[in-house]
Amino acid sequence: MNQFPHGWGRPRDDVYGAYDSSYLNSTEPVSHTQRPIVTGTSVLGVKFNGGVIIAADNIASYGSLARYDNVERLLQVGTHTVVGAGGDISDMQYLHLLLDNLLIKEQYPADDHALLAPQVHTYISRVLYQRRNKFDPLWNSILTAGADPKTSEPFLSYVDLRGTTYTAPALATGYGAHLAVPILRRHVPDEEACASLSQEDAEKLVEECMKVLWYRDARSGVKYSWAVVTKDGVTTGNNKIENQSWKFAEMIKGYGAQNV
């Protein structure tokens, strides 16, 4: 009998040749996720007077391939919170599972305590930070939007795969952080500006930004979901970017099959 446990359950050396165990002695460090696989792009959020609006398109890309075109990236968590995620879609789905379980556990006591946006945001940021400390991050950047049911104070906060958190009157993840934020900031440079922004104007502003992203971000889609949170709760909807104008594209040379 072979006295060495590592040999047990392996093909016999005398029949199949010596077992090549070199891969077991790798000197490489242990590695986890190095990059996202199926991804969602920007999430936008803007605070307005009495609430907050958040939006994300429905595309999930596999590299540069628009692999899925009906993915919901906004998740309602309880009565007054919506969480939008960019980055890896499967990690987002795992986060949804965590938030779902969190909500169920929150319901057990049947008391008058409810998780509101600040608590949900803190929870997500702790999860993400803990995972980054394991060097096994959840590859997402996330916006949490909500409103306080009593004071109607809007809440909007960002957290990413490193556990970094940040808050501002208007936020965007991914490409939106480059393309949409400058536009948003023109309208809401500070909290005071939010207080004088109506819901209607905020909706138009988001629509405008989604359009810019659709033109300029090659991972974006034409259909997007939006959600508005006020003290009365969450309203959601879907939108499609209309009145597109691609005239400018005629001027662009150098790509694809063109007869100069």
């Binding site: 009565t79 319901q107 409810a114 959601t236």
Partner: protein, 279 residues
Amino acid sequence: MTSIGTGYDLSNSVFSPDGRNFQVEYAQKAVENGPTTIGLRCKDGVILACEKLITSKLLVPGSNKRISTVDRHIGIATSGLIPDGKHFINRARDEAISWRRNFKDSVPIASLADRMGSYAQAYTLYSSVRPFGVTAIVAGADNDGPGLYMIEPSGLYWGYFGAATGKGRQAAKSEIEKLNLSELTLLQGIKEAARIIYVAHDDNKDKEFEIEMTWVTKDAKTANAAVTGSRGMIWNGWVHEEVPKELLEEAAREAKKAVEEEDEEDDDAKGEEKMDEDL
């Protein structure tokens, strides 16, 4: 009881020579003194109700709940040792969460009842633990519609149209048997449930009590916003929640009146009998 002093009743997991497990029977005794608790499986949902005695006026009314939510679509009421009931319910919650993680689906009621039956049974197997001093009534709904199960300290469980346990179970059972549960709706059911709790209540021994009542419903209008708000999450559309306050109060009022009228009729009948005798 002949068993006492024979020594076969001193340890869990021990059979007596005639094949009984006394510690399990004693655990059932703990339930027999517990508050009356019932479950009704109606056409469009399930109702759980229990009699909550007010042992001190210093207690905060409406606090100290006896019926618990296990998952969005399941509730459990226990009768017997309250802390044991809490432990049992915590386990049921863990089972429900585990089912979601494994199958991305809400746990079917029959499966949860089965798992919890096994859990209770495991506590009859070892001398290092004692059985649960509770009977649990599991109410919920899934793809097969409404489901109602009752789990005993032995681990034994059955599915029911109507279940009753605790002090007033005999009276409650005979009332439940009069109902046509396969045709009864939830709105009719809560009135019957309130009436049954009143009928089973022992006026002589205990005075004041509250009724605690929950249901499992698919009616989104009454459903608790925290649950229906969870679009995109694992949920089969049924909600376990407290019966709306106005409905419960109305049902309790009617039940009280009905029981009082019945008592008066009884008294009248007795009075007549007495007169007959006198004649």
